[in-house]
Point group: C2
């Protein structure tokens, strides 16, 4: 089966938005055994859209289209594919019900403009969108089955999983293979060094496809396999995961694709331990990541985002003298911040970060990228200092946050702390 | 002038890599006044590549191609375009010199495999790559001028700026059009209602293209125009911006595409005011956004991420009785949190949020999505309560954070506060 992916929208064609939907869909189609011919993007222009649909209808068996299903005048997907198919548009009662249900559930009247979203090409089958106003639809043009989905990523992803994927698999018939994947997440080893370490993978596991992906600031190792027997696939992938994890060592923080904050939540929960933070340069980012995990209130108590020195002294009890002598960005200050956060919150662990995220504020002794991390445990306080310098303030913040979380993970896992 | 952008590589077509090069190039072409027809991606397959080049050569005046210039067997760009053009390949002495120079500069011998990178289609003009081994090249096929660049982003960007852009501008001659855009950012009005309010835009400004984009939790209104006279364009776009801003009213927080945290930073700075936060359900997200702005230490002092009630009482001085009587998620608690943050940090403003981000923790009286916001100013404390319920915990956190920031923006702008 040959597939095409089409992203629509002026914001994509003018570079205002990086199209990440297409890569997400490409990965899934690929894993289903669909050979992808092209990824295409085109603007909100009815002629350009319908010409592209025309081209694709002659070349692909299946086409996934994102965007252009909204209520506004530049949402043209339905009109464009109707033009390609040489058919008209009409109000689809099923689709209208779905739009109405969305507003009813929220106790809001449906604005008249949203009625347009239920106007589909004649012959199209509507696809339910339980979390947004835009129903999708399926329509066959020439030899190609087109699936139209919203451009909003969570709506698109859910519609793909629940409505589109099963239909494509059905179309592929009984010869359909299942595919499985494993994702190992690691932090602290560059991509090229990771690649080097597991270089002999293809010889040992020729049946498994290996992919490396830099998802700043972590690296993900992805293993894919496809075949007829799911349990044989799982067994084989588990063996491959173990091999990779053993070679890469304790930089691997998850073999199941979990985020660092999820792993830390599990470790804290399993020890009935609690956490308090003291953040300076990360500005609340660590707390925000920790609290992205549902149920984090079970172990997360408090973060003091002490951006100014007065708050470091007043809230955390860092001594004026320590700051004056060593500076706010120092292991000495980080130690007092960690101990202070632990004491103030009555937590098992106190984790602190103080650093220089840039672009200004650096010096010869403490350049931009300098970060000091403190960890207070029931046994005492330890600290480390590193220079982690990346292209932007935002990247430095992310790297500092990840490094601090990794220090805590190593402590909780009984590994070397720093 | 009509342009196409082409990304090549198996890693793009299988979704292992998100193609950000194309968005970068699209934005630059757009700003040069080139109308972009399509963005295309295709794998490392000589037939697929040469068919795509063929299609594009009939449709576009200029095509920018990234990737496929490396030394390995899957680097096929030169061979594929030679096939399209019906010409042969030959070693280009100028290109070879450039590859040799790269290795000489680094005191390394050139591996024999890299010689392939100097083999270009007959009739191509090499483009220097001072920071990588792969020279680019320019070749005319049919009516279209193709520019081939490396896929490595820094090499591609430098080659585009220094070699490709000047050649395209020269090709456009004196008839070159410039293009300009404006971005208005708003919060608190749904996309469909926004569209409704400015529905008569195309009649009043037929020369300006309007685009609406939901960038959760904000909405952006984008205005694009192209023409020969930059100052006439600016004047026209300013008039259109003013018209849109006036119709949409005070939900518009920026007419220059700035983020909410940037706008708030400017407002605080202009009043020499400082800010402290008390965050519960947003878990540090507001502080992290505020500190994404370089220089925020000038006005941002402190955020108390008081996830547990003990921290609300101990750090912010919220009374046990208030929490016991009204609950942690209540306007009463939010008021004491805001006042506490302001007092503890000695800030001009204290802003607080307490709510239920979900997925659990809701009740009939206080469902998931309930949020209470407090604002302490030199004049006193005020509060509000809302139910803002979206698809996920992460989206609820984002919405709560934005709502709180908007409350502060309205106060600082002298608008109605809630």
């Amino acid at each position: 089966m040959i597939g095409d992916i089409i992203a629509t929208g002026e914001e994509i064609i003018t570079g205002a938005l990086v199209d990440s939907n297409s890569a997400w869909l490409a990965e899934r189609l690929f894993n289903m055994g669909v050979r992808i011919r092209r990824i295409n993007a085109v603007g909100d222009d009815i002629d350009a859209l319908s010409r592209l649909f025309e081209d694709v209808s002659h070349q692909a068996d299946v086409a996934l289209v994102t965007g252009g299903l909204g209520p506004t005048v530049d949402d043209l997907s339905a009109a464009a594919v109707a033009k390609t198919a040489g058919t008209g548009l009409k109000l689809d009662e099923g689709a209208l019900k779905s739009v109405l249900a969305f507003f009813e559930k929220r106790n809001r009247p449906m604005p008249e403009t949203n009625r347009k979203q239920a106007v589909l090409p004649i012959g199209a089958e509507p696809l339910d969108n339980p979390i947004g106003t835009a129903p999708g639809f399926k329509i066959v043009v020439g030899q190609c089955t087109f699936y139209f989905m919203p451009g909003v990523p969570p709506e698109m992803k859910r519609m793909f999983r629940e409505q589109v994927r099963p239909r494509i698999l059905q179309g592929m018939g009984s010869g359909a293979r299942v595919s499985r994947q494993r994702v190992l997440c690691l932090f602290g080893l560059p991509e090229s060094a990771t690649d080097q370490k597991i270089r002999s993978f293809p010889e040992l596991f020729p049946d498994i496809r290996l992919g490396l992906r830099a998802k700043f600031p972590e690296i993900q190792v992805k293993l894919y396999a496809a075949g007829a027997d799911p349990s044989a696939l799982d067994e084989r992938l588990d063996a491959a995961s173990r091999w990779v994890a053993q070679l890469l060592g304790d930089v691997v923080f998850s073999c199941r694709g979990e985020s660092m904050e999820t792993v830390i939540g599990q470790l804290l929960r399993s020890r009935s331990a609690t956490l308090a933070l003291a953040e300076s340069c990360t500005g609340g980012l660590i707390a925000s990541r920790i609290t992205d995990v549902a149920g984090s209130s079970d172990y997360f108590l408090f973060s003091a985002v002490t951006y100014g020195n007065a708050a470091k002294v007043g809230v955390l009890g860092v001594s004026d003298e320590t700051i004056a002598r060593h500076g706010a960005v120092s292991e000495e200050t980080a130690a007092e911040m960690a101990a202070g956060a632990r004491r103030v919150a009555g937590a098992t662990y106190g984790l602190s970060v103080s650093g220089i995220a840039g672009p200004s504020g650096g010096s010869a002794e403490k350049p931009v990228g300098t970060v000091c991390i403190g960890l207070a445990t029931p046994e005492g306080v330890s600290t480390c200092r590193a220079i982690l310098q990346f292209q932007s303030r935002a990247m430095n913040k992310q790297m500092f946050a990840m490094k601090a979380l990794d220090v805590l993970r190593r402590e909780l896992s009984g590994l070397g702390r720093f």
